[in-house]
Symmetry: D2
Subunit: 210 residues, 4 copies
């Protein structure tokens, strides 16, 4: 991100510092469901590559017994819980409990004990039990992966920070249908909300920290 | 925004629709405080121009008796409520109750009965009484102004949408220290969370709707 | 409630006033599911009678096109979302998506468009989309029915009030496994959080108000 | 509580278990402000005795470096944030930032670094930064003291449990203007939300656990 033409403004105003690791990390995987892996629906861009990298990070997280949470977008079949988000993006209403599009991609299938969050909003925290689920496990650091970088990942990262969790946005484990917004949102998050780390950097840093 | 090189992806996937007006609007003015109006602290870019436009919009809102809410960032003097946000941006800790930097700019001084929200996070909704304050007034539409577009405005807009309020981001009443992030975030918000309108468009549309 | 031996203290300290009706009411039916209707599981006391009265109130609400929301307690089959509540009351973990015990009682079967909330906590508002669902419909008044009066009804009433909704606890439409706690919680709610009305009083008052 | 005439129903239905200690406790002191210590305003009953006991518990908590949070009820001078709660209890509006009635009682004066929460609702968690403040400190257990047992203490305890924190209601450190509601709410909390312990029991159990 150092190449961003306006990065110096942020530096002069005291932003872009590292929050660093806490004691107990968790992995949050946002909306890696079939419909967001498919360019014919909500996918495209670098999402497929981000899923591949997240497969590896999920194996790492499980090996180290990190709590793991997955999100799905799920709307009621009868439209009863549709709202402003589905006015902006009516196609989201396809994502019902039983729809193939709203199932987590097979290569990231949750194991028993991993949390599966059904959400109607953008953030994995908004109107969900994620914050309390993490609190029960004394998690103070979340690594966020998923899609889209400019949408539900960004919203999740902002809420993780606002929930006072040290937040890492894993740059090669998040993807977006469009690369411009992907890059722009990584910049915003790195300046204000999250530490940006590649998967390799995260795994190395964590292994060193233990 | 039609000129964005990747806008067609969003269009094909069914995003970027208008949510439209509801019945009862409110004006939310995010963080137009002295420190964010001053390029030596958190200001710069097009923030001064956005304040000027917001002065006019505030007059319009008051004339039409819209509920008006203002936000300030306020941290405790003793640092007791500092957290992850102030790890990323330690300079925010200067914004205490008594600091000149955290006072609302004089040209937007709140009137009695307007809500003043003290917040430590990015969003005007997170950990605040804003949603309930709006519910009590049966507000279903919020026009968001303030700064920064890529920071607290974006976070407020996402939460307004998630709170199921029809959300308008008033494009010339929001500003940022850096123009690239300003533009990038307007694009994201317009595609997924908010209707983008200039002040003139908003005022004309509202007057027509009555 | 006038007979409560300590009611005068509340009166002297300025409590126990009426909040009154707003403009747009909704009906919230808390946890009237099979397991809470059955004394062998979580039921007993006056719950059956409260269900009978709620059948009538639901018909009234539908006739007047009030938004209607129902809650169910639903825990994951694999125990992944169990927490402190299930430490206090492990039997709650029986209430899974497919369990007959967690299905809404047949006489209150939701119609399409009515909201069905799955919750793990006590309050219908906590970590759910209820507040936003009501905001989208400009609801400012909620009539709360369900069970138990001393548990999820009380928690829902407190959150409705805290969400700045005028709250009516419908005294013969709420029930509890134990009558002492039922009465004690009606007293608390009436003094501080909700207007207490019987179903007949509510229906008459609403009809008069139109 | 074993003497409660209906306790056996709860026992048969699987409630009333202990949640137990976690790893990191915090002390939350609810609304021990001048106005709630004064029978002429919101006080009376056993509140004075509960303050005395809390003075001792606060010393214990500080000695063991527990995080400590205090709450105050604070409404704006201009009434801008009044709502349903102040319709039910208009006298709450006296509790403004500068009012002597809303100041924490002198014997419990917060030390630097202790959190002071200003709230308009009943619960110390609702619309406040308490959950995140605890998460940042990896707190998983909260001991709740304060007043009133049947009001803001109860609401705080329910939200602590819903936030997945192991919750202890310290029975001789909570007080109420009226003893009937005090006892009734201790019963409810003990059955469903919190472990009931006297100050002496809490201190002994914690010292043993180390």
């Amino acid at each position: 991100m150092s190449g961003h033409p306006e990065a110096d403004i942020y530096h002069r105003q005291g932003m872009g510092n590292r929050a660093g690791f806490g004691e107990t990390p968790a992995l949050v995987i946002v909306d890696f469901v079939v419909g967001f892996a498919d360019p014919a629906h909500f996918g495209g861009g670098n999402i497929a590559a981000a899923i591949d990298q997240t497969v590896a990070l999920l194996a790492f997280a499980r090996k180290h017994a990190w709590p793991v949470a997955h999100t799905r977008v799920v709307y009621a079949e009868d439209g009863s819980d549709a709202g402003v988000f589905t006015l902006k993006a009516p196609s989201l209403r396809k994502l019902t409990e039983a729809s193939p599009l709203s199932q987590i991609v097979p290569e990231l299938t949750p194991l028993p004990g991993e949390l599966i969050i059904r959400k109607q909003g953008a953030s994995a925290f908004f109107n969900t039990n994620l914050a309390g689920w993490l609190a029960f496990r004394r998690v103070d650091t979340v690594a966020v992966t998923g899609c889209t970088t400019s949408g539900c990942v960004r919203a999740t990262v902002v809420d993780a920070m606002q929930s006072n969790l040290r937040t890492i946005c894993v740059t090669d484990c998040v993807g977006d249908r469009a690369i411009g917004p992907h890059e722009a949102n990584l910049f915003d998050m790195g300046q204000k909300y999250a530490d940006l780390m590649t998967r390799a950097e995260l795994e190395a840093a964590w292994s060193t920290a233990r």
